[in-house]
Every structure is written in C-alpha cells, then in structure tokens.
C-alpha cells in the first residue's frame, strides 16, 4: 500500500471521535503515570487491558500505545523538579534537569524536554512508517555475541556519566554490576544473593533502587540545609527555553533522535539505554564537559529526545516482525493477539487499518502531549515555591506510595529506603549514582549475552571477533578507551610539566 494513501487512511481512522478520544485518554493517563513515581506504563496498561476487550483492535492499540509514549513525556517532569525519576528512562534527566531547576531554570528544562520529546517521537514515527520492515531485519541480526559487544561499548560510555572522578565512576560501575547479579541466574536456575528473600528472586527492583538513589538521597541531602533557605528561585517568567537554549540544544536533539531510534529497536535495549548513551555522547563531544552535571541544557535535550525516539523504535520489531522487544511491547502484543490480530509482517497486509491507524495516532498523540505539557510548565514551576518543610515530606510520601504500588510489596519500600540512605552516603563522598544505575541495568543483559555466546561457540572466545557487528562494536569500544587514555595521559603529563 502506498505510504501516503496508507497514512491518509490512518488519519481518517484516528480522527474519528472515538479513536481521538481514546488517544487522548491514553496520552493523558500515560503522562500521569509518568509523572507519578513508581507505577509505570506496564502497570497501567495491564490494569486497563480488560477494558479494551470490548473495543476494536485499533482503538485499544491507540490507547495503550498512547499510555506508553505519554509516560516518556511525563517521566521527565519529576526528574527535573525534584530529582525523582518518574520513569527509568528519565533517570539521566535528573542529572542536569534538576540542577537547572535549582538555578531557577525549571521552565526551560521542562520546555526543552517537551520539545525534544516531540521531535524525537515524531521522527521515530516517520522512520517507523518507512522503515519498519527493513529495520526489523537488522534487529534480528543482533544475537548474543553482538549484544555483548554492544554493551561493552555502552559500558565504556557510561564512564562519561560521572561529573567527578574517573576512578570513582569505575567503582560505581563495578558496584552496579555486582548488585545486578542478585536474583535468579538464567543459566543454572539457581538464585544468587537472595538470602531467602522472595522479593529478591527476580533481582533488586530497578524502580525502587532508582527512586532511592536519586529521590530519597536528595531529600536526605536537603535535610542538612537550613529550612528557611530558599533553594529554588521562583521566577515565573522565562518559562520557555530562550534562543541561546535552542542553539545549544539543537545538536543534542538531532543526535538524540538518530541514536535513540536504533537503540529502541534492539530487543532488550530500548529507551533507557538510549537516554544514558545520549547523555554520555553529548558530554564527550561537548566543548564544555565540566558544565555537565551542573545544569547543562544539552544534558536534558539529548536524553529526553533519545528516550522518546527509542520508544518509537521499540514498535519496529513488534509491528515489523511480531517480536516484542520489551515488556511493554509484549503487553501490546498480547492485547493484539486477544483481539485476534497476530502482529508481524503480515499484519500490514492483512490489517492495514491497524498499522496505519496506530501510526497516525502517534502523530496525533505526540502533538496532544506537547499541548498538554507546555501549559502545565507554569503550574509545575509554581509547585517549586512550596516551602521545603511541606514539599519534602510530600515527596517522601509519593515515593513510598510509588514503590509500594509496584507490586503491593513492602519489601520494595524497604529496598528504596536502603538505597536512599546508601545514595546519601555515596553523595557525601562524591560518588555518583548514574554510572551505578546504568551498570545495574545492563549487567544482567551483559552477563547473559556473554554466557549464551560462549555456549554457542563452545567456549571459543573468537566468536566475538568473528561476527562482524560484534567485532565492530568491540573495536569502537577499544578505540574509545585508547583515545581517552591518551587524553588523560597528556593531561597528567602537562600537569607535571607545569608543576
């Protein structure tokens, strides 16, 4: 079917009042879910799934998809305002977004996040439209060996997440990797480091850990300050990013889109990794890397764009191949199957109205989200005027409710508190949480990919160099290490000479 006629028919479907309404409901709920720490799009979608049984497949998918990318928009709000990641893909936004808020620039931060998300989201839809089938072929080219090498590369990048000491970042990465081993091992089926605790059998939860390390530790840090000190400058003007901001952000936004979309396609990859890698790249190529971590707008523009582009990208394997690359897509696939539609290459031929209807709804949804989020910026900024002694307990309350709401499990609240205290201690000693988080997320994928590869190659390490994609990724990682090492060596040498 010709793309334009397909898209046109898609818009006809989406703009029907019924579907338009469901699109709005989906993105609205998604934004709420994203803003509220704790429950994520998966939870919301599974709760709402039964309500879709009575709807047509198109309507259900439009609504559920809306929840998903809506959550990517909303997640950045709390990251910027109170350093609590509403969504795992917004963890990186905390690093610079929150600092911008502390400098009285919450408005521009929220604004650039919204615009970046729109651009990233829209671009990924366009790419999805044209490239769904050929790109999904690329997705299957990634097997265990390729994943291993790709993550090697990501781990090298992750060092750039830290604004301070290089060595401390590496320590945090190692700690993150160790923490990621908690849980049931894939190969042997035995639990590791669970100490008999049922909740840990699937590993330490990402959401409680992130909320603790970033949000709770921030609250604890603020307890040290005197209660009357006004930390947030509450200037209500300057709500939107100015020209200077846009000039600095346009590069990261473009790079974020180009980076986020492919990473979202890879099964197991997705929006989270896209945001971390975007941040690292921006910092690496920036002329002013020391500004990162202290309110550099590039650190918000890049990752926010990347995570929305990644969200769009994760539809590619689902619609193109019928393979869901992450849990959210698996849910969408389940919803489609229950409605009698098998997602996959044939879906475009057999049910073009679903494919094009969903794509058109994404355009509509992304625009709706921008219109929803922009006016709210004024309201969010006013929220920061609330005195600390009321705001901090409220934040704590939301975090506790959020982590409990995940699985109705009080142990997760305890985990969050432990990570909060640990995060506070780490910050006092100037260790940073971001590299730990990334290592924690990537650890299981990395380890499993390593072991799967070695089983397939029967213990032969050359498999990582024999496969072309894997080899390329490893070479790139090595190159990065060498060039950074060079830079560092030169810097120390110059230091010595000066002294």
């Amino acid at each position: 079917m010709d793309i334009f006629s397909g898209l046109l028919s898609g818009f006809q479907i989406t703009l029907q009042p019924v579907n338009f309404l469901y699109c709005f409901i989906g993105v609205f709920i998604g934004t709420l879910i994203g803003v509220l720490p704790g429950i994520g799009p998966t939870g919301a979608m599974s709760i709402l799934l039964p309500t879709t049984f009575g709807l047509s497949p198109v309507s259900s998918l439009i609504m559920l998809a809306g929840i998903f990318y809506g959550a990517q928009y909303g997640g950045s709000t709390t990251s910027i305002l109170v350093n609590i990641p509403g969504e795992p893909s917004s963890i990186v936004t905390c690093l610079d977004g929150y600092q911008m808020a502390r400098q009285g620039r919450a408005g521009p931060a929220l604004g650039i996040a919204a615009f970046g998300s729109l651009i990233g989201g829209t671009f990924s839809i366009i790419a999805l439209m044209f490239l769904a089938i050929p790109l999904s072929e690329i997705a299957v080219a990634f097997g265990p060996a390729e994943y291993f090498s790709l993550i090697c590369m990501s781990m090298v990048f992750s060092v750039y997440l830290a604004r301070g000491s290089f060595v401390k970042a590496i320590i945090m990465i190692i700690v993150g990797l160790i923490l990621s081993t908690v849980g049931m091992d894939l190969v042997s089926g035995r639990p590791r480091f669970t100490f008999g605790c049922g909740t840990l059998i699937d590993g330490i939860g990402l959401v409680p850990a992130a909320m603790g390390l970033f949000g709770i530790s921030e609250v604890l840090m603020n307890l040290e300050e005197s209660l009357d000190r006004v930390v947030f400058k509450a200037k209500v003007k300057n709500l939107l990013p100015n020209l200077e901001d846009w000039k600095r952000s346009i590069g990261p936004i473009i790079r974020g889109t180009l980076l986020g979309f492919p990473l979202g396609i890879l099964p197991g990859g997705g929006a989270i990794i896209a945001s971390f890698v975007s941040y690292s790249i921006e910092k690496r190529i920036s002329k002013n890397p020391e500004g990162f971590g202290h309110g550099a707008i590039e650190g918000v523009a890049g990752p926010e764009t990347a995570n929305n582009a990644g969200a769009g990208g994760s539809f590619v394997p689902l619609l193109g191949l019928g393979i869901p690359p992450n849990v959210v897509m698996a849910l969408l696939m389940g919803a489609l199957i229950i409605h009698g539609v098998a997602p996959g290459p044939l879906m475009i031929k057999q049910h073009p109205e679903i494919f094009w209807g969903v794509i058109a709804s994404m355009y509509v949804g992304n625009t709706m989200l921008l219109l929803l989020n922009l006016p709210l910026i004024g309201m969010w900024v006013k929220l920061l005027k609330v005195p600390y002694r009321i705001l901090m307990p409220l934040i704590l309350l939301f975090c506790v409710i959020g982590s409990y709401s995940l699985n109705n499990n009080i142990v997760e609240v305890v985990i969050m508190i432990i990570f909060g205290i640990a995060g506070y201690i780490l910050r006092k000693f100037e260790f940073e949480a971001a590299p730990l988080m990334l290592a924690f997320i990537l650890g299981p994928i990395w380890e499993n990919a390593w072991r799967q590869s070695l089983v397939i190659s029967e213990g032969n390490f050359s498999i990582f160099l024999e496969k072309p994609i894997s080899c390329a990724a490893l070479v790139l990682a090595a190159f990065l290490i060498i060039t950074s090492g060079f830079k560092y060596y030169r810097k120390t040498k110059t230091k010595v000479i000066i002294e």
């Binding site: 998966t42 979608m45 599974s46 799934l49 039964p50 049984f53 997705a139 299957v140 080219a141 990634f142 097997g143 265990p144 060996a145 049931m184 894939l186 190969v187 042997s188 089926g189 035995r190 639990p191 008999g196 049922g198 909740t199 059998i201 699937d202 099964p267 197991g268 394997p317 191949l321 019928g322 393979i323 869901p324 690359p325 849990v327 897509m329 698996a330 849910l331 969408l332 696939m333 389940g334 199957i337 229950i338 409605h339 009698g340 098998a342 997602p343 996959g344 290459p345 044939l346 879906m347 699985n407 499993n448 799967q452 089983v455 397939i456 029967e458």
Partner: protein
C-alpha cells in the same frame, strides 16, 4: 490559630484514611461465597502466555461467579514468587492462581521454596497443556524432524535455545533430549520472543518455544515448525505444516507427561468453596466463546478435575521433574 486547626484537621483525616484502608478482609467472613472480588495471581509478567490465559479465564469466570475476577501480576523467580504468595494467603477462596505445575514443584525440589506442595490444592484444569514446538529458520537444512534427530545423534552438541530452566517448555525439551537421545546443548534465553529473534537471525540452529509468541513470524514465513510436543487438537488457531509430527505420532506411546496448567487455591480452602469454583470452571470450559478466545492465543479449552489430577498425576509429575533435574545436574 487557623493554621493550627488546619494542621490538626489534616492529621486527623490522614489518620482516618490510614485506618480505613487497613480494614479489608474481616467483614465478609459470614456472607455467601463469593461476596467480593476474587484475585487471580499471575506469576509472570504481563503479555506472556500464562498472563493471556488468565485474563481470558477471568473474563469468563466473572460471568459464572457473579463477582469481578481480577488478574494480578506477581512476576518473579520463574513463577515461584506468585506461588509463595498463594501459599501464604488466607484460605478463603478469594486468592487463586493459574499456575503451571513447574512453578510449584521445581522450587520445592530445588529446596528454594518457603512453601511445600501440600500448601496447594488444584481446583481444575481449564486450558489444555501449553503447546511447545521445535522451531527452525526457514533456510534450515533439516526439512523433517527425522532429519534433525539423525543429525543430532550423529553430531552431539547441537545448540538448542530454550526458555528459562523453571519453565514447562524447558522440561519438555529435556524430556525429548533424554528420551530420544538427542545430546542437545541448551542455550538459555529469558523470553520466548528473544528465542524467536535468535532463530530468525540464525544465531542458533533450533529452539524449543511456546506457541503464543510464534504466530506473527510463523504466518509470515519467518520461522518453521519442525515438531510439536502436543497433538494438533490441543493447539489453537496456529496452522502448523501438514506433516508436523507430534510426540505420540513420532515416538509412540510414552509415559504420561502433561505438566498442564491448573487453577490453584490454598489447600486449606473449605471444600464448599472449591466445589463452587469447580462448577464455575466446568461451565466456563463448555462456553464456546471461551474456546474461541483461547484459540486466538494458541490454546484450547479442556477441563480436568483438580482432585483427580492431584491423586493420580501430580506424584508422577513430581517424579518426572525430579528425574530431569537430576539428569541435568540441578539436583543431586
């Protein structure tokens, strides 16, 4: 002064809200069952096969029992987290779980469970045993299962992908591996979609996978099924190639080995409640729309009484799983 009143009011209302939310069980003890919503635990993440089965079951069970049946995801530990929650729940019939037998038996045998098999009572089976199949890439040199079997026996160590060790699919693969002497080496994957990707990308030559995730790629010709563990009557809408053999047609009569999924309750649940649920399940299974919905996901409806199963089949299942676990070295 005003501020103080406001603060006081706020404190009291918060306290009141906390108190109210802590009451949620004791009031309905005397009423007829069921008098409030029933939770059905799903030990796996949303979108997976058991999740889909449970949601479809919930949709039809609601009509029979007259109260809302709410699926609740409690993923973790390859299914053991949900089982543990059921074992420690109140035996009042308001918490149930649709579980594969492996979710209960394996953690107990591996001594990692804080529950025992006696903590559970099977109400009934409503879905025929989950179909698992051997899939290959369309370009694979093995055109029939016999070719594969011959090749595997001559070349020990063929890599075969499979879902986690705690799943029924893995147990069935181990069973065939041992029974047919295939000498396969298992490559573990976390989810069925990952397995499908690995096959489509030619990273592994063959894999055992559940059918729910298979439909899209299969219909588009991206994958080929070589062998189905279950007979065609137990697989839903999925159209397998005409000569795909199933276990019985290939290997002949074998020891009874189903590992079907059952709806479970706490073993101390009163008999009357179990009876009510059994009657409801029977009615659900007879509903043709239930079967139709299941077919779309690759399953079929089938009712087997839970008590009969527990007396006759369950000990066999335990014995069998023990054998497999010892064979692959997870148990001494």
């Amino acid at each position: 002064m005003k501020k103080r009143i406001f603060k006081g009011f706020l404190c009291i209302s918060i306290f009141f809200a906390m108190v109210c939310t802590s009451f949620n069980h004791s009031w309905s003890a005397e009423k007829k069952y069921p008098s409030r919503n029933i939770d059905v635990l799903i030990s796996f993440p949303p979108g997976g096969p058991i999740d889909l089965q449970t949601r479809i079951l919930a949709k039809y069970l609601e009509k029979e029992v007259g109260v809302q049946v709410i699926p609740v995801n409690k993923p973790g530990g390859g299914g053991s987290l949900g089982a543990g929650i059921l074992a420690s729940s109140r035996p009042d019939g308001y918490t149930l779980s649709l579980m594969a037998q492996s979710s209960i038996i394996m953690p107990v045998l591996l001594k990692e469970a804080d529950f025992s098999i006696e903590d559970f009572r099977a109400i009934g089976q409503v879905v025929a045993p989950p179909p698992v199949v051997f899939v290959v890439h369309p370009d694979s040199p093995w055109k029939t299962f016999q070719e594969f079997v011959d090749h595997a026996r001559k070349n020990p160590g063929v890599k075969c992908g499979h879902p986690p060790v705690t799943t029924t699919a893995f147990l069935k693969m181990s069973y065939i591996n041992k029974y047919a002497n295939l000498k396969l080496v298992g490559v573990p994957f976390k989810t069925d979609p990952e397995i499908n990707v690995a096959i489509m990308g030619k990273h592994i030559p063959i894999a055992m996978s559940g059918v729910a995730a298979l439909r899209g790629p299969l219909e588009a010709g991206k994958l080929r099924v070589l062998f189905s563990f279950n007979p065609a009557t137990e697989i839903g809408d999925l159209k397998l190639a005409p000569n795909t053999p199933d276990f019985e047609s290939f290997f002949g009569k074998k020891p009874r080995f189903d590992l079907a999924t059952y709806l479970w309750a706490h073993s101390k649940t009163p008999d009357e409640i179990i009876e009510i649920l059994k009657r409801a399940l029977e009615k659900v299974e007879k509903n043709p729309e239930f079967d139709n919905d299941l077919k779309k996901v690759g399953y079929r409806a089938r009712y087997v009484d839970g008590d009969i199963f527990m007396k006759e089949e369950l000990p066999e299942s335990v014995k069998f799983i023990k054998e497999i676990l010892t064979e692959i070295g997870l148990m001494k």
